[in-house]
C-alpha cells in the first residue's frame, strides 16, 4: 500500500495525553497488588547487582523475562491495544525480548554481572535505580498523581530502563539491545507528540546505555582470558 508514506506520526498517534496516562491509572488499579511482587523483583535485581555472581545473573534474566512478558500481555495487549493500533506489534516485540532474556538466562555460560563500581558500572546501576525509584515519580512531578505512576515490571518505560542497565552490566550480546533501544525511540516519539515533559527520558537513557556499551566493548577487547564473564558478548 503505497499510501502509507503519506502518514506522519501525528496522524497515527490517535489518542490524547490524558487518555494515554489514564491507561496507567487503570492498569495500576487492575493489577494491584502485583506492584508488591514488582517491588520484590526490583529488590532482587539490586541484590543480584550487588552480589554479581553467575547465578545472580541467571536470576536477574529470569526476573526481567517475567516482567517483559507481563508488560506485553497486561499493558500492550490488554490495554494499550485499545487505543493504539500498533500495540499488538509492541506486545509481540516484548514477547520476543522475553524469549531473548530466557535464552540469556539459560545459556550454558551464565550471564555474569560486571561490577557496579566505576563509571560504566555506576551508570548501569544508576539506570536500574532510576527505573525502579525515579520513573514512578514522573507522574507526580507532572501533576498526574500517584494513581498514574509508571512502575517497573508493570509499565513499559521503567521496565526498559532497568533492562538497559542490566544489559550494560551483563555486557549482553548486541541482539538483546535491539528491542529495548527501539522502545526508547518509540516511547520518546510518542511522548514528544503528546508534548509530555518526560519525552526526553527514554531516548536519553537509550543513548547513554548505547554509548556506555560501545565504551565497554572497546575496553573489553584487550582483556585477558580469565575475565570469562565479560566474553559472552562474543
Amino acid at each position: 500500500m503505497s499510501e502509507w508514506w503519506t502518514y506522519t506520526l501525528s496522524d497515527l498517534l490517535m489518542f490524547s495525553k490524558p487518555t494515554y496516562f489514564r491507561l496507567f491509572a487503570l492498569l495500576n488499579e487492575a493489577v494491584w497488588p502485583a506492584h508488591l511482587l514488582a517491588i520484590l523483583a526490583g529488590l532482587a535485581l539490586v541484590a543480584a547487582i550487588l552480589r554479581g555472581a553467575g547465578k545472580a545473573g541467571r536470576l536477574a534474566a529470569a526476573l526481567l523475562a517475567i516482567c517483559w512478558i507481563w508488560v506485553a500481555w497486561t499493558y500492550h495487549a490488554q490495554r494499550y491495544a485499545g487505543i493504539n493500533l500498533a500495540a499488538p506489534y509492541f506486545a509481540m516485540a516484548f514477547a520476543l525480548q522475553t524469549v531473548l532474556l530466557c535464552w540469556l538466562g539459560t545459556h550454558r555460560r551464565a550471564p555474569a554481572i560486571a561490577s557496579w563500581r566505576g563509571p560504566l558500572g555506576g551508570l548501569a546501576f544508576g539506570l536500574v535505580l532510576a527505573g525502579l525509584l525515579v520513573y514512578p515519580l514522573f507522574a507526580v512531578f507532572d501533576g498526574r498523581g500517584w494513581q498514574q505512576a509508571e512502575v517497573f515490571g508493570i509499565a513499559p518505560d521503567p521496565t526498559v530502563a532497568v533492562t538497559l542497565g542490566m544489559l550494560l552490566l551483563w555486557r549482553a550480546p548486541w541482539f538483546l539491545w535491539i528491542l529495548p533501544l527501539l522502545w526508547c525511540a518509540v516511547s520518546g516519539a510518542t511522548l514528544m507528540e503528546l508534548r509530555s515533559p518526560q519525552a526526553w527520558v527514554m531516548p536519553a537513557a537509550g543513548l547513554l546505555a548505547l554509548a556506555a556499551m560501545f565504551i565497554a566493548r572497546l575496553r573489553m577487547r584487550p582483556l585477558p582470558r580469565q575475565h570469562q564473564h565479560t566474553s559472552v558478548t562474543g
Binding site: 489518542f15 487518555t19 493500533l85
Partner: protein, 309 residues
C-alpha cells in the same frame, strides 16, 4: 421608605449596566442559542445539514475507560442538544467507533443522527464496513468515505455499489492536512461523489483555491476536518480577549470565531470539530447559529488570528 424616582432610576440603570458588563458573555450564549440553526443542503439530494458536526479523531479514542466513555456520551448528548446531526469517525480512530456506538445506545439512538464513517483498508472493505456498522450499532451508514484515498480503486466502486443497492445514502472521499490534493481534484472531476472531506481553517486555506470552487461546480458537499488545527489554534488563542467585532457575529469564544470563519465559506457544508468536553461541544454548536461573517470580517478574522498566533 420610598426612594425618589430619579434616585431609583439611577440605581436601576447602574445595576443594569453592572449586569451587562459582568455578565455579557454569560448572557450571549442563550441569545445565540435562540437564533435559528444555520444549515446547508447536500447538493446531490437537497437534504439539509447543520453547518457544525462532530469529529471523533483522538477525542473519542479512550479505550475501555468507563469514566472517559461516560464523558464522551455527555459530549454526544450536548451535541444533539445543540442541534447537531453529523458525527464522523473512522476505523483508523482506535476505539472511537465503539465509543460512539456506546453513546448512541445510551442516548437511545437520537433520530437526528447523520452517521458518517470511512473505509480504511487495503483489502476487504465490505468486512471492515460491517465491523464499523456493528460498532456504531446502527442499521446502516448515511455516508461512507474512502479514508485518505486508501485503496481508492477498490473501495470507491464498493461504496458506489452499496449506494446503488440502497445500503448507503452518500459516498465520499477524504484527505487531511493538505495531503494528495491533486488526486482529490482528479477524483472530484471524474467520479460521482456526494461528499469530499478536507482540512480547512483560518491558517490552512489551500482548499479555497481549487477544491472548494470545484466542489461548487461539481455539486459536491464539503466536510471540513481539523478546524482548530488539532487544538493548536484554540490553545494559542486561549486567554486572549476577543476583538470587539466578534460580537457582530454573536461569538463569545475563539472556537466560535474559528468555526464561523469556516462555515461562512459558501462552499463548505459542515465543519467537524472534535472535543472531549461537553461544554465545548455546546459552545461549538453555537457557531452554527446567528449571523455569519461577511468577506470583510473574514479577512479581519484571518489577520487577527495570524497576529495572535
Amino acid at each position: 421608605m420610598s426612594l425618589p424616582s430619579i434616585e431609583r432610576r439611577r440605581i436601576l440603570t447602574a445595576a443594569l449596566q453592572a449586569m451587562l458588563a459582568a455578565g455579557a458573555c454569560a448572557f450571549a450564549p442563550p441569545l445565540l442559542a435562540q437564533q435559528p440553526l444555520v444549515t446547508r443542503p447536500i447538493p446531490s439530494s437537497g437534504e439539509q445539514l447543520p453547518v457544525v458536526g462532530l469529529g471523533s479523531w483522538i477525542t473519542f479514542n479512550v479505550g475501555d475507560d468507563a469514566q472517559a466513555r461516560a464523558a464522551c456520551t455527555e459530549v454526544v448528548k450536548a451535541f444533539f442538544a445543540g442541534g447537531g446531526r453529523l458525527i464522523d469517525s473512522s476505523p483508523m480512530y482506535g476505539s472511537a467507533q465503539s465509543v460512539i456506538g456506546d453513546a448512541l445506545a445510551r442516548l437511545q439512538h437520537p433520530q437526528a443522527l447523520f452517521s458518517a464513517d470511512k473505509v480504511w483498508t487495503g483489502s476487504n472493505g465490505a468486512a471492515q464496513i460491517e465491523t464499523s456498522r456493528k460498532l456504531w450499532r446502527i442499521p446502516r451508514f448515511d455516508l461512507l468515505q474512502v479514508h485518505n484515498l486508501l485503496a481508492i480503486d477498490a473501495q470507491l466502486p464498493l461504496l458506489q455499489r452499496m449506494k446503488a443497492t440502497k445500503r448507503l445514502r452518500y459516498v465520499g472521499i477524504t484527505t487531511s492536512e493538505g495531503r494528495r490534493h491533486g488526486e482529490i481534484v482528479k477524483l472530484m472531476e471524474s467520479q460521482p461523489l456526494d461528499f469530499v472531506q478536507v482540512s480547512y481553517n483560518v491558517l490552512d486555506r489551500e482548499v479555497e483555491n481549487r477544491i472548494l470552487p470545484l466542489a461548487r461546480e461539481r455539486r459536491i458537499a464539503v466536510i471540513v476536518n481539523r478546524p482548530f488545527r488539532q487544538g493548536e489554534l484554540t490553545h494559542s488563542l486561549a486567554g486572549k480577549p476577543l476583538p470587539g467585532w466578534a460580537a457582530e457575529i454573536g461569538c463569545t469564544s475563539w472556537a466560535q470565531v474559528l468555526l464561523k470563519f469556516i462555515v461562512s465559506h459558501p462552499d463548505v457544508t459542515c465543519a467537524i470539530p472534535a472535543t472531549s468536553n461537553p461544554r465545548h461541544a455546546l459552545d461549538n454548536m453555537l457557531a452554527a447559529r446567528g449571523p455569519m461573517p461577511d468577506q470583510n470580517l473574514r479577512r479581519r478574522i484571518v489577520a487577527e488570528v495570524k497576529k495572535l498566533t
